[in-house]
Symmetry: C2
Subunit: 436 residues, 2 copies
């Protein structure tokens, strides 16, 4: 069987081949209504136009208004059967051999937009945002810095996916400027606490699961059904003010050290698109309690990197390389744990993984670890730096470098060769504003 | 000047005289659309009917559809001038001397409902819910139990209003059954952690501020303007599973020990109605940093009590009496601190005070403190109890017992006598379901 190809020109290094088709929400211009889309090559395909043309003709989506909404929430609530049908329909419509969209000039002009010319928005209304702490390397490094080697990792960490409730209101889309927060830091001796702009502004390299149907209050989701409640993944930057966080976090956890901004990538890569890049999750020792024990324990092989372009410089440097596989707790364990007490998840909720650090110093997922709390400055192109400076740009990217997979229209994956194939997910964080 | 009286019969012990007029959202029956209301005596007044009749005729609300919404959010976003105008219009319309509603039988039949026959719903869409930790007595007792007398209160507590992000999805209205959560508790020695229904289910006596207009991301609210962003207060029960909480909370704070349910009272008592009961907040030592220093530091004299009706018993016992004045950090300091890092608040956000414990053992605000973590059972009518049992009913009430105040139509308050006057706020928590 030949590789599925689109009639839309997609360069070999594009982030968005027909095998990816990530979902987002865009506005053609700043005055227009937001609408759902998928990315294909350098274009976005307006799903409201496709829906209005009656091309979602499968049994679930036929007649549905889920793509005539300003967010993906209604589609998210419909669950995996609807997601699979939409993917199958879109892969067929976009394929090089299918004439219905390819040969309809009027509809093509109406439904394709140049990606570089549209405005992307946060693709779902996020009712609640939770952030986990699921990389052992990150947990260990933070523990070593703040509590010493004796109890670097608290015993509860190996028993349950630790998390905190995050702030939903300050989640912004990639490209939004982040304003350096003000706040209190530790007092020196008997003096008053420091108050002013954070001196330890940091990024955190994370991904986050976008929740699908969710559950009623009081009805937990079984870990073996948890994947049906995860639509896909975004890249996420959990901006952190380390000085504010260190002073405030005992005993109730992070608050103002985190809530000034969290950035997500505009495109949600679906679990269906990521399926060819799934892999065995790490063995857990001690074995998890029954409610966290999975029949299949799945991670994804997603190479992650962070680039930093210092203020006033022309060049970015790659400052860390990690991988989604560095998570100890899987995203399905995270979701099942979240609901085991009866807590209800709603469509569009966001579950961050926590900082995804690898075992080596060049795979740590934040400046706190990379510079060991500012003690070891980073060297980049002859300059050195510890925490973020005003005007810095931080860029995350995630790439699946799999073997050559065929996504058939019925969504069965099959390995057909040894060629490298890329699925990118990207995020750009623009400059930090000067202190007000 | 005579006391403002309503043409609606209001018994002297009613929670809802014309001086109160708290806001809620109700459904006449379970199939109808939710609509805003105020409470008066034993009735609810449907504000959508009043609005449709054109009786909100002030310059701000005339022609507005803010009361034709299924929640209060649009009204909350309009800010204090709109709130004062609505209060003034409603006090005039409901007064005994004003004929426009009193003498319009058709409109009266359309707009008044018996409170006992309607269904109350959570009155606003809550984007984010934050819970503070603002009673010193509560902080001290928790510290004594878990960290000992040396560092019962962490030094940061006296410098900033400590808080954590809570879970918005599981906030429910008074009367909703709470299901006992399952979760992990501390392992005994080398064994596996406990897993099962929580053995230490608790209430927390709190109130919560309902946010009005709020702020843009990156633009903090000055502490001296913070009151303009608080519409009013509800009673709140931050149900807590102490065994789950104790095992999970290091280092990121409470998560599943709290997120299984939080109950709010149906009626929001406005700051304007509470103004006659305002009082001086406690002196803070050390003095707060400038961004938390208020020109006027205001608390409210609201007597709070908790009643417990054990499963299978006919009688409730009052198990604690506290007062809103026991808060060390004011609600305006809480709000200003929340935004000092640029975090944006949105209309309808909820800011809980944390457990409001007083200094004496009979004024502690939760069973953790009242029973000293289960070591000192409570005696009630000959039975004893530590934490909550299935089928228990918990009822909170708040009462302002002020001197006799006159709320004039222009909302200037004046003391006119020495008679006691009551404003109640009440909440009822029904039984705990059996473990699933």
């Amino acid at each position: 069987m030949a590789l599925l190809k689109s009639f839309v020109d997609v360069t070999p290094d594009s982030h968005f081949p027909i095998q990816n088709l990530p979902y987002g929400v865009f506005k053609p211009d700043s005055n227009s209504t937001p609408r759902p889309a998928v990315a294909i090559g350098d274009s976005v395909l307006d799903l409201s136009a496709i829906s209005e043309a009656g091309l979602f003709d499968g049994p679930i989506l036929n007649g549905s208004d889920c793509f005539l909404q300003p967010s993906l929430n209604k589609f998210l609530a419909m669950g995996r059967p609807a997601w699979k049908e939409a993917r199958s329909t879109l892969q067929r419509l976009l394929s090089s051999t299918e004439p219905s969209l390819r040969d309809n000039d009027v509809l093509r002009r109406k439904s394709f937009y140049e990606m570089s010319k549209v405005e992307m928005v946060v693709p779902m209304v996020i009712g609640d945002y939770t952030d986990f702490f699921a990389s052992m390397h990150h947990a260990k490094n933070c523990g070593l810095m703040f509590r010493g080697p004796q109890n670097a990792i608290n015993p509860n960490w190996f028993r349950l996916p630790i998390a905190y409730h995050g702030r939903a209101s300050s989640i912004v889309i990639s490209g939004t400027d982040i304003i350096r927060p003000r706040g209190q830091g530790h007092p020196q001796g008997d003096s008053e606490p420091y108050f002013g702009p954070s001196k330890k502004l940091d990024f955190e390299l994370e991904m986050a699961a976008v929740v699908g149907p969710g559950n009623e209050l009081g009805k937990p989701i079984d870990v073996n059904n948890a994947a049906d409640h995860i639509f896909g993944l975004v890249l996420m930057n959990d901006w952190s003010a380390r000085d504010i966080q260190a002073w405030e976090y005992v005993p109730l956890g992070p608050f103002l050290g985190k809530s000034f901004g969290t950035t997500v990538s505009p495109w949600i890569v679906t679990l269906d698109a990521l399926e060819p890049f799934s892999c065995q999750a790490p063995k857990q020792d001690p074995p998890p309690l029954p409610y966290l024990t999975e029949k299949e324990s799945v991670n994804y092989d997603i190479s992650l990197e962070v680039q930093l372009k210092p203020s006033g410089k022309d060049e970015s440097s790659v400052i860390t390389k990690s991988n989604f596989q560095n998570l100890y707790w899987t995203i399905t364990q995270q979701l099942a744990h979240h609901t085991v007490n009866g807590c209800n998840l709603r469509p569009g909720d966001l579950l961050g993984t926590g900082t995804i650090s690898g075992p080596e110093p060049d795979s740590y997922g934040c400046l706190l670890e990379l510079t060991w709390n500012g003690q070891k400055p980073l060297s980049m192109n002859g300059t050195t730096q510890t925490f973020l400076q005003d005007g810095d740009q931080v860029t995350f990217s995630g790439v699946c470098k799999g073997k050559f997979y065929l996504h058939c229209l019925d969504d069965v994956s099959k390995e057909v060769g040894g060629k490298k194939y890329l699925i990118h997910i990207h995020i750009t964080i623009k400059h930090l504003e000067n202190e007000r």
